[in-house]
């Protein structure tokens, strides 16, 4: 097995042909039904795919003004290269549902052979993902599946074999390794995935130092330059504070969001759930600039600092991404997470309120913020209601391992790695404790 395969997030957005909207809705419904009934569907046959979803916005089921433009989003997380992935979805046995779905969009060219048409279509409508997080960077679909198999086999072994309290931990491990060796001959190829890593604290310090460095540099070049920079920062802060104090919140009278039942009906079917969220960015170039900066920073942190299974203390996120949609001047957020919506949102509030406020304070009707990243999401009830208000219906959602949590996947990885490692007594006990 290869040691490092990165996972990539793909977002494709295209205008839907108004005449084909109802056909598209039906196609997506068929696919959705096949997935929840665990019937035959194309995602199952694509090897490197972790998650996928189709979303139509605005919601075609809600009343919309005449002439409304509907758009289709296709988003997924896949292993390795885009071209390999495109080959997989345009292969003979998987292509037809994709063809039927994408051909409902305006720019799809039915005149060319479908494989080429889909490839051109996807490449031509790819949306930049401004900030992207992965809960287990480097663990490809293959690795996850192999390691889950090993975990299941060990459980089976421990059901069959009884060990006494006096048995030596090293002996028990040896017996487990022997059993796995019999059942999974290629287990020893599993290797640790090396990732560049900077502790979040150091990353923060580094950014701070960089800022100070720029100021010092400016001061060395010319004192006026330093003065101008300080004035600029002070101006930005002052302007931001003024905007914050006047930004309207969602009024309490709108706290009960009518759309909730249409969202909750698709939740809690598996160990994992998903969220699609779309909200307008506050008017003005200033807010857009701040948002871009914050997302750029989060993207860097997610790649190099939050790559050990937790994003700012939240260890239930598989993949999540923010994307700024220019045309709509809106911020799109997709997330695949463990447990219930309520659990996930509570984690947001309790563990990562600052980071999330930094992002969403730039969008409309967000709970009152302070200094860009404070208050806001910490106003728990209003933040949750705001999230529901701008959450959008996901027509199709697929997860390759819907019953595995991030913690399960990482635990399986540690167990599998441990099979090949020489360990002392303490390490052996810790390893057995993972079982």
């Amino acid at each position: 097995m290869k040691t490092f395969t990165d996972q990539n997030g793909l977002i494709v957005i295209a205008d839907i042909d108004a005449n084909k909207l109802s056909i598209l809705c039906d196609e997506l419904h068929v696919l959705h039904t096949a997935i929840i009934n665990k019937a035959d569907h194309p995602f199952r046959k694509i090897k490197g795919i972790h998650f996928a979803r189709f979303v139509i916005f605005p919601d075609p089921l809600a009343t919309q003004p005449p002439g409304q433009l509907f758009r289709l989003v296709y988003s997924c997380t896949y292993d390795g290269l885009l071209d390999t992935y495109l080959q997989a979805i345009t292969a003979g046995e998987t292509i037809s549902p994709f063809e039927r779905i994408f051909s409902c969009c305006k720019d799809y060219d039915p005149a060319v052979p479908p494989a080429a048409a889909i490839t051109t279509f996807i490449k031509g409508h790819t949306q930049r993902v401004d900030a992207y997080y992965s809960g287990y960077r480097g663990l490809s679909n293959d690795i996850i599946s192999k390691e889950a198999e090993i975990y299941t086999l060990i459980q089976q072994f421990l059901r069959e074999r009884t060990f006494a309290a006096t048995d030596d931990p090293k002996f028990i491990k040896q017996e487990i390794v022997r059993y796995i060796h019999e059942h999974v001959p290629d287990y020893s190829h599993i290797k640790a995935v090396p990732l560049p890593y900077i502790k979040p604290l150091y990353a923060g310090l580094l950014i701070g130092l960089l800022l100070v460095g720029i100021l010092v540099l400016a001061g060395i070049i010319h004192l006026y330059l330093l003065g101008a920079l300080v004035a600029l920062i002070a101006g930005i802060v002052f302007y931001l504070r003024r905007l914050e104090q006047t930004a309207p919140e969602l009024p309490d009278t709108e706290q009960e969001v009518a759309a909730v039942p249409s969202l909750t009906k698709d939740e809690d079917f598996y160990a994992q759930n998903q969220l699609s969220h779309l909200v307008a960015i506050n008017p003005g170039g200033f807010r857009l600039g701040v948002l871009r900066t914050v997302l750029w920073l989060i993207n860097l942190l997610a790649k190099y600092s939050f790559n050990k299974g937790a994003l700012g203390g939240i260890c239930t996120i598989h993949f999540a991404g923010w994307s700024i949609l220019e045309k709509e001047r809106s911020l799109l957020f997709f997330s695949n997470f463990d447990g219930s919506w309520e659990n996930y949102l509570s984690d947001f509030v309790d563990r990562a309120a600052v980071g999330l406020t930094g992002v969403w304070s730039n969008t409309i009707n967000f709970p009152r913020t302070s200094w860009l990243a404070f208050k806001g999401a910490a106003d728990e009830e209003r933040f949750k209601n705001w999230t529901r208000k701008y959450q959008i219906h996901t027509q199709v959602w697929y997860s390759a391992f819907e019953e595995l949590t991030v913690k399960n996947i990482l635990r399986n990885h540690h167990i599998a790695l441990g099979l090949n490692q020489e360990m002392n007594d303490t390490q052996t006990k810790q390893w057995l404790n993972l079982l």
Partner: protein
């Protein structure tokens, strides 16, 4: 040894406006019953409320001889407050109601727990609009109050849907464990300058978590329903009230002990573990209430998991008391865990029903008994946000087989796999050295047999409800 005290500046609670059950559980009033009501077409609800209002016990009565309370379901409230009268509404979970599909999926009320099969409050049962709760010092006093109430109900054309009688079975619950040991300490109940020991602090919770109109653990006021009054702000009808969760939970005590004895006698993995120890591992406490996690001798309440029992070698990670109150044990940050857990607490006020399977709660006798009487718990709890408190505990902790890194461990006592529509036997892991033991195929021991979400208003709000709609004259 002198213990360090923490002095907290706390909001002043308006005890005169809060119904007493929110503040105390009336252990000195051992006899109780709950009367479920329906407001039929001709019911004179306001007149009835005005009539019983003087008899409702406010929390300012510290030791009443008799306590009398009322709470409403969403259908009851909507009879009293027309939709257009509301400026901000009641909580969505309450408005939706306990017996609906979404709530069922969150709570695991499917199959054997399904609202279609409930004795009351379910989809096939008569509608419940309100509940009257009577607590008395003996059965004669209880009966007297009930008869008096029943006459008034008749007078105002209100029908009784069912009467639920509690049973005083002492300090244990039906499986035989000491019960009711932990309840949050509500900040402000002991006065606005209360002192708590440092180890009590993890259990001190802001009043806004249980009573509307006070700051909660986020230092925010919980959203509260308001009604129009002609004045600018309207009237905060939620103030000093609370959402009350009521669920009738039936316990199959015999099956519980049969299963435990079966494991102890036949499971080769559990060699040397007596039935009481296996049961204790599943509950997280000994039968006598002692903690499994290391704790000071005799200290049943204040113990922690992170420092001495992180891996669950003493109290398993999936044990009932650890799942429903993880204390400082979630993830790797004990202080943050305590802070988070405080946001998911409930005030328990339940009482048992049915006679114990064995009068002295002896496991061997309970296992062998042929008595099939119904017994269990009227689970009652208060919270300011049902979704973040009661439902969260049941869904994200008890019913969640992946809780805190576990693989497939649902709460072995009250858990129900919320993702499946049919009951599925789950597993339970007893962490330990050299390697964990696993119990599989755990049957269901606790069954949901009825229930509803109620709102228990404050005294002023009751007065408002008893008056002419939209008029505040009676309240101010």
């Amino acid at each position: 040894m002198a213990k360090p005290f923490i002095v907290m500046q706390l909001p002043k609670l308006e005890f005169g406006d809060i119904q007493g059950l929110l503040i105390r559980s009336y252990s000195f009033l051992p006899d109780a019953c709950y009367v479920m009501l329906q407001f039929n077409e001709h019911a004179q609800i306001r007149a009835f409320l005005a009539d019983i209002l003087p008899g409702i016990t406010a929390a300012s009565h510290k030791r009443p001889d008799l306590a009398f309370h009322i709470a409403f379901t969403n259908t009851g409230i909507s009879r009293l407050i027309p939709e257009e009268q509301l400026i901000t509404g009641f909580a969505p979970e309450f408005t939706e109601g306990l017996n609906t599909k979404t709530r069922s999926r969150i709570l695991g009320d499917f199959d054997t727990n399904a609202p279609e099969k409930w004795y009351w409050g379910g989809t096939q049962n008569p509608r419940v609009d309100a509940v009257l709760m009577i607590f008395a010092k003996d059965s004669a006093a209880l009966e007297e109050k009930y008869q008096d109430t029943a006459e008034r109900l008749k007078r105002y054309n209100i029908s009784e849907v069912t009467r639920l009688n509690t049973m005083n079975i002492g300090s244990k619950e039906h499986f035989g464990f000491e019960d009711g040991i932990m309840n949050p300490l509500v900040a402000g109940v002991g006065g606005s300058n209360a002192r708590y020991t440092a180890e009590e602090e993890q259990n001190v919770v802001m009043p806004g978590e249980f009573i509307l109109g006070y700051p909660n653990e986020y230092a925010k006021f919980p959203l509260s329903p308001r009604v129009k009054t002609g004045m600018d702000d309207g009237f905060d009808i939620g103030k000093n009230g609370s959402y009350m969760v009521f669920r009738q939970l039936e316990q199959d005590v015999k099956v519980f002990w049969e299963f435990i004895y079966g494991l102890s006698e036949n499971d080769p993995h559990l060699q040397g573990m007596g039935p009481e120890l296996i049961a204790a591992k599943m509950m997280g406490r000994q039968l006598n209430g002692e903690s499994l996690a290391p704790a000071a001798a005799g200290n049943l309440k204040n113990f922690l998991f992170a420092a001495d029992d992180k891996d669950g070698f003493h109290c398993p990670i999936g044990a009932h008391i650890r799942k429903s109150n993880p204390r400082d044990g979630i993830d790797d940050d004990p202080a943050l865990s305590v802070k988070m857990v405080k946001k998911h607490k409930i005030l328990r006020r339940g009482r048992a029903f049915g006679a114990p399977l064995s009068p002295d709660f002896d496991p061997a006798t309970m296992r062998a008994s042929g008595n099939n009487d119904k017994r269990g718990l009227y689970f009652i709890c208060f919270n300011a946000q049902i979704n973040r408190q009661f439902e969260f505990i049941q869904n994200a902790w008890c019913n969640n087989n992946k809780f805190d890194g576990l693989n497939d461990d649902i709460d072995p006592i009250v858990g129900f796999p919320f993702r499946e529509t049919a009951f599925r036997n789950s597993a339970f892991t007893i962490q330990g050295c050299p390697v964990r033991k696993k119990i599989s195929n755990i049957p269901q021991f606790v069954f949901v047999r009825g229930g509803a979400y109620f709102f228990m208003p404050g005294m002023k709000a009751l007065k408002y409800l008893a008056g002419t709609p939209g008029s505040l004259d009676t309240v101010l």
